[in-house]
Amino acid sequence: MIEARHLTKRYAGRTAVDRISFEVGKGEIVGFLGPNGAGKSTTLRMLTCFLSATEGTATVAGYDIYEDSVEVRRRIGYMPENVPLYPDMRVGEYLRFRARLKGIGHRASRGAVGEAMETCSLTAVERKMISTLSKGYRQRVGLADALVHKPELLILDEPTNGLDPGQIRQSRNLIRELGERHTILISTHILSEVEMTCGRVIIIDRGTIKASDSPRNLIRRLRRPGAVLLEAKAPATAAARLAAIAGVKEVNPSEDRDGWTSFSLTTDPQSDVREAVHELALKEGWKVRELSSRAASLEDAFVDLLKEETPSDPVESKT
């Protein structure tokens, strides 16, 4: 669906996107993940023909973004960052305008808009002014706009930015549903979002791709040492006993009230020491309030990945 080759965007003295190449297959939901200012939006803007690439190119559904930009735009439903809308239009009116602008005939636009409003649960606010809508509704209007002409590819720039947790969950479900009919490329800096909706993650930082894999594989590949938390009524000497268990590398006790102590154990990535800890506690007669292992999340993988690169990077400081 998307094939980007050496896509580059340079502004005066600054490289926003540096020769990135990637592919998105038909039917995939791909997450574009990176910290703010990593070049996500710039890349999406190049793919949607809003900006041109300084070097390199990309094709969308076989059409070159520079040579056949109108054909490319016909096949993309794009929701820009912060969802810009005309505040002085009504929801239904705005969507009909957008549908007509995207080449849907007068008659057909009614059905297409109705369907899009249905999908995004907007039917109730059809006659409301956009200026009076809440952030969550605006986001949905933007989404309905993106999919009103039934594009093959949806490009959503930070679709859940600024929503409350309930709305984030709703829009996540919606995106997953849409994934059954469209190829989707979403950008975000929120990890849990990618972890839950995307089949594949492309991590981008300072204009270059750092990793591209499924969330599960990324976590596995970047497995950091495991961590186990034990909260028990135990004497201070317990730390040394815990450290003696095979697989435990380090123990950090921190004293709570009433004789309770929390021990956080750093372990080898492979070994699960919870059983051994439990047996030790039984043997010593410690009362246990909590014993849990904290699995590495994509967030950890992400942070590690970015940290790896930080020390040596002279590229940006020049000029």
Partner: protein, 251 residues
Amino acid sequence: MRPFSILFFKELRSFFLSPMAYVIMALFTFLNGWLFVSMVRAMQLQASQRSLIHNLFGSGWFWMGFLILFPLITMRLFADERKMGTIEGLLTAPVRTAEVVLAKYAAAVAVYLVLLLPVFAFFPLFRLVTGEAAAFQPGAVWGSLLGLSLIGAFHVSIGTLASSLTANPLIAAMLTFVFVMLHYFLGFLQNFGMVTGSVWSDAMSYFSTTEHMNVLAEGLIDSRPIVYYLTFSVLLLSMTHQVLESRKWRA
């Protein structure tokens, strides 16, 4: 050309649904109505060598109101879209930039013509109410309508370009006003300390809006101002197109 008509009607709609349109229209019509009446009064008291049309459209009062119209009509065209960010959705829809520019321009010209029409309704109204022939020929009415349409079309193209240059409608309005004024006063340079008939004054008279109106308000169709305003409008619109496309230039 379907995107053209869709965008054209959207622009018209958003202009006439804002209260500003009616405020401008009321003020402009009121100013000119007052002017029309004073002109007729003045001609009753004292014979004039010029026609009513000539006096009305040659008056400084008329031009003051007239020149202020353009910043007000055009300031929001592109500046507002840039400010709100909607320009991104607009230009990533499958439409050509040229269609967007032309549709917005045509809509602004249409708005301008709607604002101008009440002034031209004065002449038949005058005849209807007084039952007297006003001191003008039909040719002069058509000639000045043509002249004001051309001048307006040119001024709207100045405003369109100015609006594409900034994300702030107020700055766009000020730019438009400055350039519309500069162009208007450029024509007066022909009298500026120079002998009439010199190369300088001849050259400057080509730029003179008042000079153009003097000729057209006599009912004389001169092809020079027609070509002049149309070519400059086309030039400014193609510059607007370049400004919008510049984000896509490959460095």
